[in-house]
Structures are given as C-alpha cells and as structure tokens.
Symmetry: C2
Subunit: 287 residues, 2 copies
C-alpha cells in the first residue's frame, strides 16, 4: 500500500467509504465513526442506498463521475479510502462518463478485459496511483470479519469437518480459474459450484433441486463453504455472508455454513450467530 | 472386462440394452440391430419410453426388479450388456425391491454412499460379478461418439480455442472432486460450473443471467465445454450432448460447444452437425 499523498498519514484522518449495495457499507461507516474517524460516504448510484447511512456526510456519484469523485476526495484532503458493497457489473454504455472521467477510461478498459480479480486489481491500482491508501474492512472494523470457531451455538460434527475440508480443497482447485468463492456439498458429494450467479442464486438452485426430488440432503448433512480465491485482494473483494445467506442455506436444507476465518465478511457477527441459532445452522470460521 | 459366463463370447451374440431415458438408448438399439446383433431392451420404468424402441424385443423392469432382470438375461443366454440413458437418482423407498432383489441390496447400499462415479462403478462391478461383459456405446456404435474436429460447418476461432483449453483445464481441476462434466466460459471468465443440476439447467442459468443483464456474452464469445471426469467409466457414464443441449446453448447466446473427442455421446452426429449449423453454433471435438 502506498501512503496517501493528499492527506495526513496514519489511520486517524478522514476516511472515504466508496459504497456499493448491501448492509455492509453502512455497517462499516458506523464502525469507523465509532472509532472516531470522520467518514465521508461516496454512495454509488444504483447500488448504495443513501438513506441507509443515517446522518453520515454523504454524496452520490455515478460510476461515470470518477473525475468528480477524485476532485471531492482531494478537496476534502482525504487520503484513506475503502471500497465496499456489491456492484452490478456495469456496461460501458451505462457509465455515462463525464468529461473529467474520460481520460481515466483506458485504464479501466484494460482492467475490464480480465476476470473479476483483474478488474478489481485495476481499480485498486488506479486509486493507489492517484495517491490514495486503499484500506480493507479488516483494517477499519476487524469485528466485521469472520473469527475462528463458531459464530453461534452450533458447531460442525467431525464428519462434517471432513466434508468442509473437501469443500475448501475444491475451492482451492478452482481458484486459479478466477472462480469458486463458494460451493455446496451434501450427500457425500459436491452438489453446486458458484460462478457468475453468486451465492444466493446457487443456494436457491440447491433448494429447487431438493424440492424437485432431484437431490436429497439428510438431516445434519449439507454445507455451504465460502473462501476467498488465492490472490484475491481482501481489501476490496472480501467474500461475504449475511442474514440472506443464512436464510437461503436453511431453505436449501443445509446444516451450516463454513467460512475461512479472517477472510470473509460477516458484518454483525453476534447478530449473525443469533440468527444462525434461530435457523438451526452452524456458522464456523475455519482457520 | 470379464468375459460373459452365460453366453457365447465375442461381440455377435445377443446384446441387452439396459435403457434409461433420452434419445440415446433407442438410437443405440437401432445401431446394434443394424450391425446384425439380436437386441433385448430392458426398459427401466419411469425413465425409458418403451414406444421409442419400435418393434424391439423389449421388457420393462422397475429398478427393484434386479432379480427378475438377471433371471431374464440368463434365460436368454445374454452375456453382453450396455447400460445407457438417464436415470433419476432413485430413493431406496422408490425401489420397491422384489424378494429376489433383496440379497443384492447391500452391494448397492455401499455403492450409494459415494459420489456418482462410485455408484456407477458399483453397478458395473455388480454385473461383471454376475458374469456379464459390460460394453459401452463406443464398442457397439462408435459413430454415436464425438469425433475429432467440427460436427457442422462452423469451427472455433483461435481465441476461442484458448478459451476452450482453459475450460478443459478447469474441468480437469474439478475432476478429483467427482464433479465438473461441464462449464460455460464467456467474457474471458468462467461463468458457470455444472454440478448436480446438470448441463441443461446450467445453460438455462446462463441464459437467465444474460436476460437479467447480469452477464454479457459478446457475439462469437461463449462456449460450453464438456468432458468426462478422470476415471469416469465411459462404458456406463459417458457425458452426452444432444439437440436440447444445442437449443439451450443457442438460447444462452453461446457461440458453440466443445467436447473431448472420443469421450462424449453425440448420438446422430450428422444430424447434430446440421442442427448446429441451423443454430449458428460450432460443435467441436477436441483431441
């Protein structure tokens, strides 16, 4: 990480949160503010919900307003930023780049030609090249990241731990192909592998296979495994689970969720643990 | 392969086709009959459509009637058999085993505890243990198996050949996990990986992602790759493509289908080539 050129170094200056969709950006904004940092939220239009940030200092930007965003960050002497939240893969047409953004486009056009890893690496390099320090949620709010061990009351059985180990090996094998943040194992086999559809759609698919009688998941069997890909930049692309993940896992008849400890966003861990208990699921951070 | 104990050796004696669903069992029955073999079709209830076999010598069996099936095969002095066609993964409850089948159940109960490979290996071992020779479609009707090169008029571009090579590497990496007969690559990345849902459902998912604007597949991009897993017994579990595969691939906006030459069932290859032309797809057998 390069040090910010436009702002006092250290982790106490103002922090920009470049916010996509989901619950985690507002949660992170709250955690950073609670630690005494001044937070400026750059809410990405069509992804972030400004209302979710309460009375945070906030301004909305289109993706095509990168020039304006940079100007605003520099005017505010902000050196540290976090990129967090979901973002629909945009079309260049939908970007509607403003004039001050056009000169940055070739950088992103190159980044777009690779997979997701490549794109995000390009985004990080861009901001670093502009003199910003790109931080991750683990730097700002370590409590939002998966701890080691159980989040709730339940833990996986010994047999389940073997299945989980197989699942993590599978994800590792997929990793060189820039795919495979998640998989579902049940009935002693791999029943679903996540790619472009995302975790929620994968879990819905498993639920549908079960409902159609094409797949049986015995009581106490069935697990969602989630881990980052090798080389995935955990500052900007940490895999995440949340209340919806647990609801879908329960719907699919799984017995729990296993994540790599320290590498997966869980948001409000205590709350998620209580929710896991209510669903009868384990949520285990595996070192 | 062990030699049949109940029938004349060689490949000219009567042949039993233990038939599941789909177009390939009747196609294979026709091909074997055309080569002058007497064919007996054991149509599995709930999977095979007896009407599709024309005037073939045919009898229907429930899965639970293994004892009756063995008796019939032995009474007919049949030593060679082929297992072909799709089969819903049965529940033990639905088997309704007859008395003469009960003693064989422990064998299958063990086989059921593994993945698909394990189950099929158990089925092959069972029939071999009973003295039958288990043949594959490639032994009976080599024309039904993917040749090397293009099935229709179109061929993949050089760039597409690289994508296809990546796809086959991905499938090879998944292979040790008894998963991954298929994947879709597009937009320079892996967009879908097949597991329990099957190829058709995977292609429909890609079509839905495209329709929802979550995935863009440029003209000339997008390919379905299919290959057997390492150690997959091609006699009883050859991956297959057919007219429905092509229809779904076209619907998903792919430019073609790549299969491992000699390892994937294509049925009527010429017909499939013409259909590929009509869809504007390539179907390529890659050595």
């Amino acid at each position: 990480m390069s040090e910010g050129a436009h702002a006092p170094a250290g982790r106490t200056g103002p922090l920009a949160i470049i916010a996509g969709g989901g619950d985690y950006p507002p949660l992170l904004a709250g955690a950073a503010a609670a630690r005494g940092r001044h937070v400026f939220v750059a809410a990405l239009e069509g992804a972030a919900d400004p209302a979710a940030f309460g009375d945070c200092d906030l301004r909305s930007f289109r993706l095509g307003q990168l020039g304006s965003l940079l100007k605003e960050l520099k005017a505010r002497a902000i050196g540290d930023l976090v990129l967090i939240g979901s973002l629909p893969r945009p079309s260049f047409g939908a970007l509607r780049p403003e004039a001050s953004t056009l000169r940055h486009l070739p950088h992103f056009a190159r980044a777009f030609k690779g997979g997701d890893d490549h794109l995000l690496r390009g985004v990080v390099q861009f901001f670093e090249g502009q003199g910003f320090r790109v931080l991750g949620p683990a730097d700002i709010a370590p409590a939002m990241v998966s701890p080691s061990g159980a989040l709730g009351a339940r833990s996986p059985t010994a047999a389940m731990r073997e299945t989980i180990a197989t699942g993590f090996s599978l994800l590792a094998a997929l990793s060189p192909f820039d795919v495979g943040q998640g998989a579902v194992l049940a009935d002693h086999r791999v029943v679903a592998v996540e790619a472009a559809e995302g975790t929620d759609a994968m879990l819905l698919r498993v639920a549908e296979l079960v409902a159609a009688g094409r797949l049986r998941i015995a009581n106490g069997d069935g697990v969602l495994v989630k881990a980052p890909k090798h080389g995935q930049d955990l500052r900007v692309d940490m895999p995440a689970i949340g209340p919806r993940t647990l609801a879908h896992a329960a719907e699919a008849g799984l017995s729990g969720v296993a994540v790599r400890a320290g590498c997966v966003l869980v948001g409000d861990g205590r709350g998620l643990g209580r929710l896991a208990d209510a669903h009868g699921l384990f949520v285990e951070g595996v070192p």
